[in-house]
């Protein structure tokens, strides 16, 4: 809308600058190119960085792609897709991605909102806590992944604390030797690192909740929980939709932490779609199959995001994201 208005103003300015001229409809159309010129850099970047690689990936998925010499690639049609649907390791990696997504999205949102509510109140130490909670978000994934790996390794701080110090366990646990315990470690990192981001979005949303609504509810006799449920939650619903969509997309795209903490192991048990895709591409040079996995994941994420937007639409039918 803003760009349309700008375009309108540009036309008016132009007319004022040249009062003697009669503006033909054709000339006005030429002037309306201005907003598109402003859009052009963004569109070019989007096409070059997103659309073109996506189309290329789809093209590669239809071939036994020879990355070293594309001309030697052999057309395979939907063979790679059929292979993927029959590949138990792909389904396991997709399941692991889904488990990570489910296990991290809800805690990030709930804990993020809780902390945002605590930090909403004015306090001299509030800025400090905001920074502290946001710090993991801006910390490098590589650094924190390696940190978690060291914490949870067989002779790491977690085993020392639980076994040697608190005596809560009879022996050290090999956290990274089993699919489920390793996934717990990876999920814990995801939650810890993501809470600060949810908190910041919720904090901004909470500051936009009209005080008059809170006061009106209070005057009507609503207690704190009732006010939170009936006033705050609906008021921050757009933020909730935004956070959930973004976290679901991010959750299904988990890569760095898995790659660095377990490398998909033991024996691919903790592989997520992206680590499996990476293995196919860079260990086995099977870029056609890797691209197929990427396309399937992209379609899956797109459908899931659309469903979320549809389901989380407000009762008034308003799109909130």
């Amino acid at each position: 809308m803003a760009l349309t208005s700008t375009a309108g103003r540009a036309t008016e300015t132009s007319s004022v600058a040249r009062p003697g001229r009669v503006s033909s409809p054709r000339r006005r159309r030429r002037f309306t190119l201005t907003p598109y010129l402003f859009l052009l850099p963004g569109v070019v970047i989007f096409v070059v960085a997103i659309i073109w690689p996506a189309v290329s990936a789809f093209q590669m998925s239809l071939y036994h792609w020879n990355v070293f010499n594309a001309q030697l690639s052999q057309w395979s049609g939907i063979d790679n897709y059929l292979t993927a649907f029959k590949d138990p390791h792909f389904w396991q990696s997709l399941a692991n991605s889904a488990i990570y997504m489910v296990a991290t999205v809800i805690p990030q949102m709930v804990i993020g909102l809780f902390i945002a509510l605590l930090l909403k109140k004015k306090s001299p130490v509030q800025p400090l806590f905001r920074v502290l909670f946001y710090l993991p978000v801006v910390t490098s994934w590589v650094v924190v992944s390696l940190l978690f790996k060291f914490l949870f390794d067989d002779s790491g701080l977690i085993n020392f604390t639980l076994h040697d110090f608190l005596h809560l366990m009879n022996s050290d646990v090999s956290w990274l030797a089993d699919r489920w315990s390793a996934l717990v470690v990876i999920c814990l990192l995801g939650i810890w690192k993501g809470i600060g981001w949810s908190m910041m979005i919720y904090l901004a949303a909470l500051q936009g909740v009209p005080e008059s609504l809170e006061e009106a509810a209070e005057m009507d006799g609503a207690n704190r929980w009732q006010r939170f449920r009936a006033v705050t939650i609906p008021a921050i619903n757009p933020a909730t939709v935004f956070i959930s969509v973004m976290l679901v997309i991010g959750g299904l795209n988990v890569f760095t932490s898995v790659q660095l903490i377990t490398g998909g192991g033991p024996v691919g048990q903790t592989d997520v779609v992206l680590t499996y895709m990476y293995t196919q591409a860079f260990n086995f040079s099977d870029f056609g199959y890797a691209s197929t996995l990427a396309v399937i994941l992209a379609v899956f994420v797109f459908i899931l995001a659309m469903l979320q937007l549809r389901i989380l639409r407000t009762r008034d039918g308003e799109e909130l994201a």
């Binding site: 990355v67 030697l72 990274l176 030797a177 033991p266 024996v267």
Partner: protein
């Protein structure tokens, strides 16, 4: 060694390198070789500096390359160091983008894969003196460059795995000498039970890890032509060998590092800390321990012998020329330079083992443990020369791990592995 002697040795080494480099310069003529009038720059990628090792890079950049350039006016060698873990990815993406360097120091396992995809020049066809150069090297290393009847590289440096033991752990097992046979290991296994010391540790179940056991046990991975694994990998001999490892694993004498626990203590820490009694590893471990565990004194000895003898696996790097190179003649000159005794010994001083058996004695004078590696290399075998080597490793790991975890039998695991590897070999 006195300071003056060291200085003298350095001068002699530098002079020898210069002379040899000059010799290489004289041996080749032709267009594109680089002259003063039309200089060329040959790009060279490798991972000499992996793990922050500046010694090898320094030897290359400050001594060897300048000597070569001085002897070959008009040729500049531009070496780029890339971390080993990123090198394959970098080479793959660069190949896709047509941005490969002229020369690559490639892990010998990658050569068939790149050769199969037309990325490399078959040196056995382009270098008239290839046979002469290759004849000086260990046959096992040369064979890693073979793909479909052509040789695509020359060995640059080599390594293998030998048995490394911790004396304190041996004492706990009540023995004084490292185990020389499978039977000795079995004896140690009995004595180490309940001591908290693992008999043996390794970080995986790929071909690099299990091949020494299989070959020393008297078995094989495939038929001699490397076209079939069934009937070889899943032989009764191999079942017996792998079962021995599985039994030790189940008895707690091999840690779950071997089945993929990324949180387990690594072999480089476990051995000096007397958590592990024995490991199989390469000559680079000495450098690691010198820095991290200066008091640790490891014992190097041959791989314990089974019914097949003491057979290890060949490792190392080959130097390969990319098909996209526009300076092939100049690049081939540098390849010849890497095959000289001056280059090989200069790099041996930094921890890179020579590929020439005739230099083994000279190398052993640098560090006594080199002799163990050189002797082991005489019988060491190379892994399956296949563009699908990474997939073969993955097959071995994914099929053998369930056997170690007790989810399947060793026979079933090896049957499955052999069948899958058959399909990969057929796809070569």
């Amino acid at each position: 060694m006195k300071r003056s002697s060291k200085l003298g040795l350095a001068v002699v080494t530098a002079a020898t390198i210069s002379l040899v480099a000059a010799g290489c310069a004289a041996s080749t003529t032709g267009s594109g070789t680089g002259t003063k009038a039309s200089p060329v720059t040959v790009t060279f990628w490798g991972s000499y500096g992996n793990g922050g090792n500046s010694t090898q890079q320094d030897a290359l950049n400050k001594t060897l390359i300048p000597a070569f350039e001085k002897a070959n006016p008009g040729i500049t060698i531009k070496y780029t160091d890339i971390a080993y873990d990123s090198l394959l990815q970098k080479l793959t993406t660069s190949a896709a983008g047509g941005q490969l360097p002229d020369l690559v120091r490639a892990d010998l396992g990658w050569v068939p894969q790149f050769a199969a995809n037309g990325v490399l020049v078959p040196l056995s066809g382009s270098m008239s003196d290839y046979k002469t150069l290759a004849a000086k090297d260990y046959a096992g290393n040369v064979s890693t460059n073979l793909y479909k009847g052509k040789y695509y590289g020359l060995p640059l440096d080599t390594n293998t795995r030998v048995l490394i033991t911790d004396q304190a752990a041996l004492a706990k097992a009540g023995v004084t000498a490292p185990p020389a046979t499978f039977a000795d290991l079995q004896t140690m296994a009995t004595k180490l039970k309940g001591t908290g010391v693992s008999l043996f540790a390794d970080s995986g179940l790929g071909a690099w890890n299990v091949s020494p056991w299989i070959w020393s046990g008297g078995g094989d991975l495939t038929n001699p032509d490397e076209t079939k694994a069934t009937g070889f990998l899943n032989s009764a001999t191999n079942v017996q060998t792998i079962q021995m490892l599985v039994d030790w694993y189940k008895a707690g004498l091999i840690p779950n590092l071997i089945t993929g626990n990324k949180g387990a203590t690594g072999t480089s820490d476990g051995l000096p800390k007397t958590k592990y009694a024995t490991i199989f590893d390469g000559p680079w471990m000495s450098g690691i321990w010198t820095g991290q565990y200066p008091k640790f004194q490891p014992t190097y000895s041959p791989i314990p012998a089974g019914s097949g003898g003491s057979i290890s696996v060949v490792g190392g790097e080959d130097i390969v020329l990319t098909a996209s190179s526009t300076h092939q003649a100049a690049a081939e000159k540098f390849i010849r330079f890497t095959q000289t005794s001056a280059f090989q010994i200069a790099m041996a001083k930094t921890g890179q083992m020579t590929v020439e058996p005739s230099l083994a004695d000279q190398q052993a004078q640098l560090a006594p443990y080199y002799k163990v590696y050189s002797d082991q290399l005489k019988t060491a075998k190379s892994r399956i020369a296949s563009p699908n080597q990474s997939k073969i490793d993955a097959v071995l790991t994914t099929t053998l791990t369930p056997a170690f975890l007790g989810k399947t039998t060793v026979q079933a695991a090896l049957d499955s592995a052999a069948s899958q590897i058959d399909a990969l070999l057929a796809g070569n």
